[in-house]
Symmetry: D2
Subunit: 341 residues, 4 copies
């Protein structure tokens, strides 16, 4: 059986595991106060070219979104998201659970269109009843988006300018950030992101770690008592080393970028094969997720030999499915998949 259903179906990059092994019996402080967390923070600051960054490690993506949004917003404030945003659809209401409204704007290829964002805010500030409305104070974007698409630098710039004009903070969900940064079709660097965003996270779970996400507050703007807030959300690891060691390894010698590149290269090959074989793309995407429209009979045939992800119904006879590569995908797997397709 071939496995292309997601980018979290194997364990960690071997170097990450090796480091966990090597450091296993070192006696370290708990709750993130260990030398590996500190070293990882230093490396990430450098990678982001953001020496004033406040950096914290959390375990997973939904947890990170929930905590960042809930702690940066006052209770009557809301966060703007594309309709297709992960927080808006696939996090079981984790943001609303902590009391905040998600303010939907339309999405185009998974992205917020700057003009739509501007319209939304203009309309809000023109509403005569806005005293009774949730105040929009943050924009949430994902990069890559849930559909594998990417923002261009000028789009981020425009969005950041709109945020600045209306005094919103900009938050980027980087669950798959590695795959964005090394895409062949991006002009956006990690330093750009640190510049445009007020806060973002660098995803580990889907890019070589067993678990873990690194939250980066770029403007010296981490919420006061953030460690206590993490604890209150039930998200503080006693063995914070687990996260520190992983990120310290991933940001040693650009490992995070190197292994991300593999996913992109394998995705490029996959795209080529799919195109050659005449498969219909649901959306063009420059990262490691490929969405294809398959007839239900084709699905029956394929699923004997490949595991992929069912995304949504397309019409009575077709379904949108997702093929995903990762840091761990091998050329051999792509070759075998080509034979099956």
């Amino acid at each position: 059986m071939l496995y292309f259903e997601n980018d979290y179906n194997v364990g960690a990059h071997p170097k990450v595991l090796q480091k966990l092994n090597d450091t296993n019996f070192e006696k370290l402080s708990g709750y993130g106060n260990d030398i590996y967390c500190k070293s990882a923070i230093k490396k990430i600051k450098e990678a982001c070219a953001c020496p004033i960054a406040d950096i914290y490690f959390l375990v997973g993506g939904t947890q990170t979104n929930q905590i960042v949004i809930n702690t940066m917003l006052k209770q009557y404030e809301g966060v703007i998201s594309a309709k297709s945003g992960h927080i808006n659809i696939h996090e079981a209401g984790a943001v609303e659970f902590t009391g905040h409204k998600i303010l939907e704007v339309p999405s185009k290829n998974g992205k917020i269109v700057p003009e739509e964002l501007n319209n939304y805010l203009e309309t809000f500030y023109n509403d005569f009843n806005r005293e009774h409305m949730v105040s929009p104070v943050m924009v949430y974007i994902s990069h890559p988006t849930e559909y594998g698409t990417l923002y261009e630098k000028n789009e981020l710039d425009e969005i950041a300018k709109i945020c600045s004009k209306y005094e919103l903070s900009l938050y980027m969900d980087g669950a798959r950030l590695g795959y964005a940064l090394v895409s062949k079709q991006t002009d956006v660097s990690l330093a750009d992101i640190a510049k445009f965003c007020d806060v973002f996270y660098i995803g580990g779970t889907k890019v070589g770690a067993l678990c873990g996400e690194a939250v980066v507050f770029t403007k010296n703007n981490a919420p006061k008592n953030f460690a206590k807030l993490i604890k209150q959300h039930g998200a503080l690891l006693a063995k914070g080393r687990l996260l520190g060691i992983q990120f310290d390894t991933l940001f040693e010698d650009d490992l995070y970028f190197k292994i991300s590149k593999n996913a992109i290269e394998m995705a490029e090959k996959l795209k080529e094969i799919l195109k050659k074989k005449g498969y219909k793309f649901y959306m063009e995407t420059p990262t490691n997720q490929q969405f294809i429209i398959l007839s239900n009979s084709e699905i029956e045939r394929l699923k004997e030999k490949v595991i992929f992800s069912f995304w949504e119904k397309y019409d009575a006879d077709h379904t949108v499915v997702r093929f995903v590569t990762s840091w761990a995908t091998t050329e051999e797997e792509i070759k075998l998949l080509a034979e099956v397709l």
Copy 2:
């Protein structure tokens, strides 16, 4: 100055005030356990032709929406609302404050279109990731809607059938219910509503009371320990009599319906005048709220003599404004308004 900005700019119907006076020194039990609450409940059950109804009195509309939704839903469950629904826009996030996501469907003239509702639910149940999605378990509708429009009986029937098919409960916000029930263009009775809905409320604040809304659970389905839940939300009045006496009066001799009728008659006259004078309607509405598109210069002229409600920007030169009649509007006021317009 003439006042047409809303239906809550005067106090209570004189009979309501009179009853508060007459009963003022009666010694009554607190927290809704008095004879007037009991009498009001009895009368409302009869008016709804729903002997099994559980009825509670709350102080205001947002409070009622928050408590009903939060107590009928499990914490991972959400409520479907039209995009223009009051809970979705103008309640400062009161529903999300208690942890629940509002699931937007498009609105047409303020209403949920049954087909759109059906599509939404079909899509949800076709989504392969719905394990990570908020479960839709309730539909919220307002009647009249925020735009003064009304559901037809067959629309309510269709919506109720969809709810039944997908096991959702149906909740109607009746902040202005009186004005719906006596509209000249409705085929929906209070008994119909009690039949179609699992829970709804009969608005008092905007229909003759100083404050107060009557929540009606129609299927013997009030949440367990509902009084304690009201207390926990900070919404239990020590002098519950204040609400009981008002509703007992409003449901004596059909007072609620009679005074609602005045608002409709005045609104009909107002519509006629507006049409005759060539004003452009933003939407046709059969109840007591009339939405008109005015040029900004016209607004400047009018606001010297009339107070009306600014609704939203229409375009650079025009604004949507609202004129509202109520149980208290007099023929004299309409006549004076006609002169100004």
Copy 3:
């Protein structure tokens, strides 16, 4: 039957009702922006000798406690209360419902003992794990307490000093504040309270109003966007006039104080009678609530003719009961009660 069970068993003071009648058809702005709210605020500022006060009106006591505490605290912060504090026992968890821990200190006669408060805070700041503890940032006291007792000026001064030392705010629940201010055994004035407390509320529901409490932020320290926060809690009245008119009347010509005095005078007579007849007091109290220990047989006899409040079991054969006077208690009622006792 005689009624001494509480101080909210009749309606409003006749002057309050009269004013509601007199103003009934005045067209007023909604949501607290009317002239009566403004006038009431002006009068209360003067009564408090606190020109910088921010004043808001809410409907009930539990609602007020919930909103004040939740909006003045950050989410990881808690409020210190006496074990017997109303918020800690009899509000169905309304404070915890909004996410905040109540930090118990022992109570003596319903009051917090300054030394105990100091010990609590010292212990907290000596705890090596306080990074994982809820931060104490507010002290909640009630005055009169739930047992009708009063703080002395020097006690309030001490508590305020401790709060200042540890950077806590001091919040007073004045559900029955009128009865405290005119007690024959108090040296605490309204101006003192405004000076010692960062925020407190003046209870209306139990002192002559149909409903309503006036929250006073004394240091120009109302939470930002407080009106929106009230809305979000479901507590904003459309007809804010209902509260404004009542408080405007209560603070006209010292009505609030005058009617409070009646309760105290009646309570003094009641105490005298109880003492003369040899009843055993559970606690000495200088306000309008009297707690008596009755044998269960005595209870059986009395409850044929008087309604009083059951408080708690004392032992197998005795129960603590409460007799309450109010602004509305008459000499006649006291005389009749004397005959029964």
Copy 4:
């Protein structure tokens, strides 16, 4: 330097790490649907002699307490805890954050005394105002307690009977459960716990895992849609394997018990040394945490060579400190410590 400050200062047991290595490139389903989670569940059911158990894996202890309590309680319900309970003191208000009150009862040596529990519940059910009180529906105990003490079987039996009588569920926090089960002074087995408790968790983080706790619902009573609830709390791991593999290893060949035994043996030696050298114990404890009262000068001397945990101030000149052994403590370390003491 010697390290005795806690039981989470090294990584994982080597067999756990080995298994993570061995399985690293196996393609596994996400979110806990993998074969290792299933295998671990099977083994734990057997170890608990509880074939109907529902078992879920979570990342940490505070998270587990928060989720179990919040999902088993209705919103107006509260949980009884000893004053010294972890949820009541050292979880930064994580339980209150989700809306629930913790109802304090006194603690004796970290434990709830059955009689006190019974008194608390009797008092509640005798309170005439309990309609306005948080309903007590769960008892939280920790075993070992925060002070390393253990419940005896007859105590658990009594507590379980009281719970049964008043319809409360019994929840045990087993963050250090391994150390309880193999203590030389316990008569309580894992099967006993499964029998007495409605839900409990088996701690991994402090007993050989990198992270992870196994929640056991013993009466087929896991909350409906528990996986979605975990997601909503931000606590669902994409790579659920991380937890499954660890617990599968820990419950292979009684590893969990064997490694726990080491901690107890080392603690016994430590106690002996401490006693011999005349150190004053703050409390007698039969597990891996030892609390000692040290003079501040002694502390200065010791902390040059040993890291231990500061617990609380004892008096002006003394401090309570904690020495902890774990599955990883070696005889060599104990010997070196003996020399220092």
